[in-house]
């Protein structure tokens, strides 16, 4: 048996307890890029579904083979049943992959008259914003979560648990911050000034600013071209009538994240950077009064002969070196020593995290020798999550 490492001193995370709790309606998997957020989200969704929950998983950027095995297609932007999830426990599993541009387009289409929508959708600013603005993906992930939640509330037969993956940001905090940043950017003073200078601020303020603004817009239009300001004005004016404010929209989903029934899982790899990110995130969640379920320490090194220390293994390997007949065993012992040393370093990092955040529950998931690309792989991860 691989030693599923419980972290020294850290309380264990009861994953099955969380998945079985009908009060938990939303699980959000956060963390720095590449640590296993998408894998964890998918594994939790599958496990919950096979334990009887009616689950929808919102993935953002699954690895290609994993997406294929879950029947995810980019084209949908709406949840589809996952073939191969076992319905015997009375649950069900739907999954989708976020199409951020499409989600944005749909928000516009849902709230604007057809010709107004057309105006916005073809505006070059909108196109830049909806396809490449840093933060749009986070914003749309939140938007989609809001939509799924609304549907789950309206139709109790649809889903009783939403598992959300988060975008591959460099920082886990981006998921919380980017939507508001985008919201305030679009609601911002300058964008309004440019759109309709007269509407903003008092008269005195206007006097000072309008001079500056003429200079500013003048220089900007020289630099960027006059057309761009016209496009921008058109864009802001059109959006204004459509949205009750971008920021309010973002705020609403934000509140959903603070609500009871939401559980955050922070995913991290046992590496200094990832754990530092996890630390920041844990602190931030506390500040925001967002409910943290625990830390998933993913891809930890395990050993199958953990009773043999690295030092002993290396000594023994050296003893055996003199005799060619023992070369194989010597090699195995060195391999083992290598693993034990890595494991030791990782567990030291984990212990340090726990030192700083003693109350955070931790589940450790072993690094598998190969990628996770099918439902069986996800089931294995699910088992590790619930026992580690």
């Amino acid at each position: 048996m691989a030693t599923s490492g419980t972290t020294r001193g850290a309380p264990g995370l009861d994953v099955d307890g969380m998945l079985d709790d009908p009060g938990i309606r939303v699980i959000v998997c956060c963390g720095a890029g590449g640590v296993g957020k998408t894998t964890t989200a998918a594994a939790l969704g599958l496990r919950a579904a096979e334990r009887g929950r009616r689950v929808v998983v919102l993935t953002i950027d699954p690895a290609r083979r994993l997406a294929q095995s879950m029947g995810l297609r980019e084209l949908d932007n709406t949840p589809q049943p996952v073939p191969g999830a076992d319905p015997a426990g009375g649950g069900s599993l739907d999954a989708m992959m976020l199409d951020m541009k499409r989600t944005f387009d749909e928000v516009i289409e849902a709230h604007a008259s057809p010709d107004k929508a057309e105006q916005i959708l073809t505006n070059p600013f909108y196109q830049a914003l909806s396809s490449s603005f840093a933060g749009t993906q986070e914003y749309m992930a939140m938007e989609k979560l809001g939509q799924l939640r609304a549907r789950a509330d309206a139709d109790p037969a649809s889903w009783d648990l939403i598992v959300v993956d988060t975008p591959p940001s460099r920082s886990a905090l981006d998921f919380l911050d980017a939507p508001q940043r985008l919201g305030s950017f679009l609601d911002g003073r300058l964008i309004r000034l440019i759109a309709a200078p007269a509407k903003v601020g008092g008269r005195a303020y206007l006097k000072v600013v309008s001079v500056a603004m003429n200079g500013a817009t003048g220089a900007l239009s020289k630099l960027l071209g006059g057309q761009i300001l016209l496009d921008l004005q058109a864009f802001v004016a059109a959006l204004d009538t459509v949205f009750g404010g971008f920021r309010e929209r973002a705020d609403r989903t934000y509140q959903l994240l603070q609500a009871e029934g939401t559980a955050f899982l922070v995913v991290a790899a046992p590496a200094p950077d990832a754990l530092r990110e996890a630390s920041y995130f844990v602190e931030r969640l506390a500040q925001e009064r967002m409910p943290l379920a625990g830390l998933v320490l993913n891809r930890v090194t395990t050993a199958h002969a953990a009773e043999l220390s690295a030092g002993r293994a290396l000594d023994a390997a050296e003893d055996l070196d003199d005799d060619d007949g023992h070369a194989l065993a010597a090699g195995l012992l060195r391999l083992h020593a290598d693993r034990m040393q890595r494991r030791e370093r990782e567990q030291t990092l984990a212990a340090r995290f726990t030192g700083a955040h003693p109350a955070v529950r931790i589940a450790q998931v072993p690094a598998r020798p190969s990628d996770v690309h099918d439902l069986d792989g996800l089931r294995d991860i699910g088992v590790s999550l619930s026992t580690g």
């Binding site: 200079g215 630099l223 071209g225 199958h304 023994a316 023992h326 391999l335 290598d338 990628d371």
Partner: protein, 351 residues
Amino acid sequence: MPHDDDPGDTGRNDWDGVRLHVVTGKGGTGKTTVAAALALALASGGARTLLAEVEGRQGIAALFDVPPLPYEERKIAVAPGGGDVFALSVEPKAALMEYLDLFYRLGRAGKVLERVGAIDFATTIAPGLRDVLLTGKAYEAVRRRGRTGPVYDAVVLDAPPTGRIGRFLNVNEQVAGLAKVGPIHTQAESIMTLLRSRATVVHLVTVLEEMPVQETQDAVEELRAANLRVGGIVVNMVRDPVLPDPALDAAARGDLDHRAVAESLDAAGLAGRGGRASATGAARVTRLTAGLLAEAAEHTTRLEVEAVQREQLSTLERPTYEIPAVAGGIDLGALYDLAEQLADQGMSSGR
């Protein structure tokens, strides 16, 4: 000097004549680390290089353990054999101000622009402007001349990740929506000319896992379609195969010799005081043997996955460099070590 008996040192330089090395890769695969090692390698033996980052993350400062870099070139390291590495964190807002000053001599009006948030705004939303400013700074550094010639022998750009690299470098297309005439357009065209010239290559950093390798392949395709020159593939965090080859083969077939291993472990005293003659000693050896063999099996699975990924990378037909996973993480010493390994493999001349 290259030695015939040293297979590591090829004495070759695959990127002779290249002045701008763009380094990209999937997030977290080691772009910053490799860019820094390459800047060191290229500076060694008395040259001068600039290592520039563009995402405002202060990854370079963290790596070299210095305070956050200002928007100003600073010497951060001395290369082996003499040679200087300078570093810069390119900041789009500062770059825009610099730019406006250069073209419009804005003076105080520039400050006003900044105060009302116009600079922030323009660099945030004007399609492509940000990237033109960032690549523009690298362009300027490559072309900058001192009294005796170029100020920098090479510029290494720690670039955005693979998912964004095509857009980032395709500045011309990006600013297509902006002013048709004017400095931004002219600038974008000059940058594009440099990026597509023989003086520029885009290196890709990856690790031997499915997703990063897939992203590498996708990026290569995208770069080639955009007429950008793909440089080398740097395979990062490679682990030594600890087992001797015959043992690996046997492990892969699943027929490692249990009995022989058990005997060896006993011979090494791992059965404990009573040896395998005692019941606990025998049980212990059996357990350890099973454990070690299970670890070997996982190890070979891992190596098989890596072999498949190496195979995928070889189809790209680019010079490929491998650098090891450094136990315990990267410090300054490790960075010099990686630089030397890149040079030995021909990524720089390592004069």
